[in-house]
Symmetry: C2
Subunit: 287 residues, 2 copies
């Protein structure tokens, strides 16, 4: 039971647990220059991408993550014209970003071109906006990208990366955040996936503190379910250059959004930013 | 990998997935007159109770379920003096209910005394209010209890049961709901666990419809994370006898709650009732 080839299991060694998906077929496997990528056909979750043994994206539930990593930040920013997505090689965040007519350019900077090439083949729906003239797909090191970018040149940076180990480690430290602060316009926002509130509460606290130490003036964390990720409960953390940069919410625009979603809406926006009692107290104490 | 005796796995056969916990020891196992009960010591989730192969409660994350199955309903009702808990043999919901000073009597009616006896031994924290003079623990069939109870005799009925298969099946049908309507006072509320929004959306819709057909005038569903339950995302559904019975929220009382919680607070209360976009549309269409 729960053994390959019928099951793919991701074990969470520090949290004594594992999530498994029943697979009908391994569609692809390769070692890219950066990581090991596997694609499976599953019984209920549709197509599944696994990177370095961690489940990344499935047809069935990716809408939760992609909607919540994008729309809350985009409707918080007063006028998000330029967006960078660091990571996000499966193109799901890019697709959501491009639903916003205000966005004039969305640049996706993923270090590993193979993730995108495989997404184009196995997740065509996520890649359905790749040909949008506002989209630019670059295969570069995101850390180097922000280091070399012009000051005050972007409205929103979305860090849609793997966990803070391996290739993505450098996307969770003060040096990276300082470069983000520099690149963002005065009302700019950084949005980054920030792991599980149940498994990684300390990491969320540390990340918020590091963002503040790097020069961000405000941070807010949002919460959403995500079956495929450790504990089934996930978070994203927003940081703004301006002290009031996260207080705004273009609520009327969100209520009148010109696109379909499965999870996000204006009420979910507000609800997602409510912290659980105990974690909220820790956020408050840390300020 | 992921095999007994080192792992306990619950497989979700209709959803091609499984959640596994690393166990250090099986502490107890028995076949009660109603179900198979197992108790494990786990590596990270503390003590774990399993009933008929389904993970029921762990030290680590039971606060989510128990807080969300009780406090939203108690702070929605204008004056919850009498509460029945159908099921709930681990006593975790009873403990949360008794935190409310308004409650004068809380009756727990679980068909299986063995669940409670084992909870007393292995989950002493959940049973820490069992000696409260307001608590009454009965080991009876909940269906029979509501059938024989006096009309308009209770303010709040909480159905804290296993899944709608096996012993709990009769707690999810119109006949049971009709008896609940009869037993509830005019401003009475029923609160029932209603499975996973990702895996069982159709069940939630059907349950709300059945409640309405049985005579409840209004229904509302709330959402919360629950790592141990299928998909990691769970729900509870409230039904009221009066059309306005779910519109109230004693928000000032919830903000000033005289007890500690780990997840619930007044803002979580409001946030939890926000439905995901697609599911909310289905709720609306079904009305």
């Amino acid at each position: 039971m729960l053994q390959a080839p019928h099951w793919f299991s991701e074990v969470y060694p520090h949290h004594g647990s594992a999530f498994s998906l029943k697979v009908s077929e391994k569609l692809h496997e390769e070692q890219s220059p950066f990581q090991r990528i596997e694609i499976y056909e599953t019984e209920w979750f549709g197509t599944l991408m696994v990177i370095d043994g961690c489940t990344m994206v499935s047809d069935r539930d990716n809408y939760l993550y992609h909607e919540m990593m994008t729309h809350p930040a985009l409707y918080t920013h007063p006028d998000p014209q330029t967006v960078w997505i660091i990571g996000g090689g499966d193109c799901g965040s890019l697709k959501e970003v491009l639903k916003h007519p205000e966005v004039g350019q969305a640049v996706q900077i993923d270090i590993d071109e193979r993730v995108t090439r495989l997404a184009e083949r196995y997740f065509p729906d996520l890649c359905s906006s790749n040909e949008d003239p506002r989209a630019r797909l670059l295969f570069l090191d995101g850390i180097q990208w922000v280091r070399e970018a012009a000051a005050e040149s972007v409205d929103l940076i979305i860090v849609d990366s793997t966990d803070p180990v391996g290739p993505a480690e450098g996307l969770f430290n003060q040096a990276f955040y300082r470069e983000c602060v520099r690149c963002l316009k005065p009302d700019g926002i950084l949005a980054q996936q920030s792991e599980s509130p149940l498994f990684h509460a300390d990491l969320i606290l540390a990340m918020r503190a590091t963002m503040q130490q790097a020069g961000f003036a405000a941070t807010r964390t949002l919460f959403f379910p995500q079956c495929l990720y450790p504990s089934g409960w996930w978070s994203g953390t927003l940081a703004s250059k301006s002290p009031t940069g996260l207080s705004g919410f273009r609520e009327a625009a969100a209520r009148d959004k010109p696109f379909e979603t499965l999870y996000y809406n204006a009420d979910i926006h507000t609800a997602a930013f409510v912290a659980p009692e105990a974690l909220g107290k820790r956020f408050h104490l840390a300020q």
